[in-house]
């Protein structure tokens, strides 16, 4: 099916590429279907709404920002996404990119968790307050 996107014009996607956010994403509860567009040049993943062309989150794997990033998958998440093994899970952090790109931040406190086996996804709010919602991607002196 063809969809309109925020950054890449009109693209063709397959049904099996559609990710289902069972509860929507906080702030956008009415939109449940997204697809991931990976830009090789930028090495960023764009989480594009299939239902609203203008809704697109720019994301990157949190491990690229913090090498030792990890968290426990609570029982309610495992149940919600029907996760069978940890290897089935992909994690992405939503980036907040201001006009001054060097000041971009990643939400490490609320990662996007996707079960690649069934394409169910959710934005998880971690209990761990060591991770910030506004983690600077680049060091401050850059």
């Amino acid at each position: 099916m063809k969809i309109h996107t925020k950054f890449f014009g009109e693209i063709e996607i397959k049904e099996e590429h559609i990710i289902n956010f069972v509860e929507g994403i906080p702030g956008f509860p009415e939109y449940k279907k997204y697809t991931i567009i990976h830009d090789e040049g930028l090495n960023l993943s764009f989480l594009q709404s299939v239902e609203e062309a203008n809704l697109c989150f720019i994301t990157m794997p949190p491990a690229m920002i913090l090498g030792n990033y990890s968290f426990d998958l609570s029982d309610d998440i495992v149940e919600k996404l029907i996760i069978e093994k940890p290897e089935d899970v992909t994690t992405l952090a939503i980036l907040n990119i201001p006009e001054d790109f060097k000041k971009m931040t990643a939400n490490l406190r609320a990662p996007i968790v996707i079960n690649t086996k069934n394409n169910k996804a959710v934005q998880v709010l971690l209990d761990d307050d060591n991770y910030s919602m506004k983690h600077r991607v680049f060091k401050e002196d850059v």
Binding site: F7, I25, P26, G27, F28, D39, G41, L42, N43, L44, L55, C56, F57, I58, D75, D76, E79, K80, I94, L95, N96, I97, P98, F101, K102, N107, R109, A110, Q123, L125, M133, K134
Partner: protein
């Protein structure tokens, strides 16, 4: 909104599965115990509000990808 008064150790039941217990009452805060089924997410409200706000800001970004590419390639 339903507003109830509770003393320490008193509880409130919501539906069949949720129980809220006042475990401690301090001068400026209250400790609340919650029993709820595993599939229900229990959160401090301000955390959810912060995530919503951060998501809204992130989605609003009008980023020029070419300019971004130049910065990221450094």
């Amino acid at each position: 909104m339903l507003v109830l008064s509770r003393k320490k150790d008193e509880a409130i039941v919501i539906g069949h599965d949720i129980e809220i217990i006042i475990t401690e009452i301090g001068e400026d805060k209250v400790r609340v115990g919650i029993n709820a089924p595993k599939h229900m997410k229990v959160l401090r409200k301000e955390l959810l509000d912060q995530v919503k706000e951060e998501n809204l800001k992130s989605a609003k970004s009008k980023v020029n990808l070419e300019s971004l590419a130049r910065v990221l390639k450094k």
